[in-house]
Homo-oligomer: 209 residues x 2
Amino acid sequence: MISDSQRKTLSFIRQYVARYGYAPKLQEIATGIGISSRGVVHRYIQALVQAGYLENLGGKHRGLRLLDKGRESGQAVGGIPLLGKIAAGRPIEAICDQNGGQHGEQNELNLQTFFSTINTFAVRVEGDSMIEMGILDGDIVIVKSADSAKSGEVVVALIDGEEVTLKRLEYTKEGLVSLMPANKKMQAMIYEPGRVHIQGILIGSVRKY
Amino acid sequence: MISDSQRKTLSFIRQYVARYGYAPKLQEIATGIGISSRGVVHRYIQALVQAGYLENLGGKHRGLRLLDKGRESGQAVGGIPLLGKIAAGRPIEAICDQNGGQHGEQNELNLQTFFSTINTFAVRVEGDSMIEMGILDGDIVIVKSADSAKSGEVVVALIDGEEVTLKRLEYTKEGLVSLMPANKKMQAMIYEPGRVHIQGILIGSVRKY
DNA sequence: CAAGGCTGTTCTCCAAATGTTCTCTTACAG
DNA sequence: CTGTAAGAGAACATTTGGAGAACAGCCTTG
C-alpha cells in the first residue's frame, strides 16, 4: 500500500533510471516531483523500500536500486509504465516534466485491462483500405461483438454470408448500406441491408513491429 | 442483497482499480457515481464491506480492497480470441472459415504477453508527424528502453536534455543525426550527435477508440 | 591537514487532504 | 402516516504532504 506521492516518486525514479542508467539524487527527485525538501523525498523512499519497490544502499550517493515489484506478477500484471506524452510533431517538454505536472493521471498501461475482454475478439487486418485511419496491413484490430451499428461506426461486416470486411458503415437515404474504406484510392461498396451482417464494432487496434 | 447505488459504487471501484491499479478516493467515487457527498459514499462502502464485496483498511487513504465475491468467474484474463484475417481491402473468406481452416496458428491474443514488459515503457503520442506509419495523435506507443539505435529504426529521442520526440533515426554521411518524421508535410531535423540521446526503440502501438 | 560543500539521514513542526461519524432534509412506497 | 433509502453537508480524527533545520559522512580544494 503506497500513497500517491510515493507512487509519483517511484514513477520518477523509474523514468530517471530508464533515461540515464543510474539513480537520481534526492534533490533531483524532489524537484522532479515538484517539492523542495530532500527530507520528504527520503521519507517516501523509505516507504518504498519498506514496500519492496526499492533497495537503498544507505548513505551512498545515488544509492538507490530498482526492484521488479509492481512490474511483474503480483500487482499490475501486464503493466507497462505509461510515462506521459511525447511529441510526434514537434519536440515538447521532457517526459518527466509532463508526468510530474500531472496528478491523478493514468501512469501505468495495463494491457490486460485496457480492452474489455467480454464479447470481444481480435482479427488481423489484411490490406490497406483503412490506412487513413491509421490501420495498416498486418495490424490487429480489437472488435466488440455487436449485431447492429450506427452510421459512422467502423464495423466488421459479413457480406452474403461469405466475405468479411472492415469498413466504416453508413446508411444511405435509399435505405441501403454503404461500407466505406478509409483510402482515397478505393470506393465505397453499397449493398442491400439483407446482404450485410454486422459482426462487431471496432474498439481498438494493436501493432507490433 | 445490495441496492442499486451500492452496485453502482462497486462497479465504479472495480473499473477504477482495473484502470489504475489502486483504489479510488471517496471523493472520486462520489463524482464518479454522480453525487457530491463523501459521507454517502462511505455509507455505501460500509454496506459493501458488510456484504463481503470489499475490505476496508480503516482510515487509510485509498484503503479499499476488492474481494472476489460477485465477480464473473472464468474471464479469460487478458485473453482475446484471435479469429484470423480480415480484409480491409476486399472482402475475403469468412472469419470462421479462416479460423477453422488454419491449425497451428495463434488463436488467442494475450495482450499480457504480447509485448515484453521488461525494460519497456509506453507513451502517448501527441501530433501527427508519424501519421504515414499509422501512428495517430493520441495513440499509445510501446517502447523498449535503449540508448542506441540503428539507422532506420524509430526511436524516442531526447534532444538537448529537454525535449522528447518520436522519429525515425538516420545517420548522415557527415556524422550527424537526422530525425525524420513520417509525414510529407514535415521536414527532418538534423542535430549533432551530442545533442540527441536515444531513450528507446519503437516496438509497438496501441489505440482505443 | 582544515574548511567548505554536497549528499543522505533524522527530526520537529505545520497544513492540507482524506476517511469517519453525525444530523438534517427530501422523496417515495406501502 | 410511517418507515426506508438517498443525498447534502458539517464536524471531527487521522493520514498524508510538505518545509526546513540539524547532523554525519564523503569529497574536493586550498
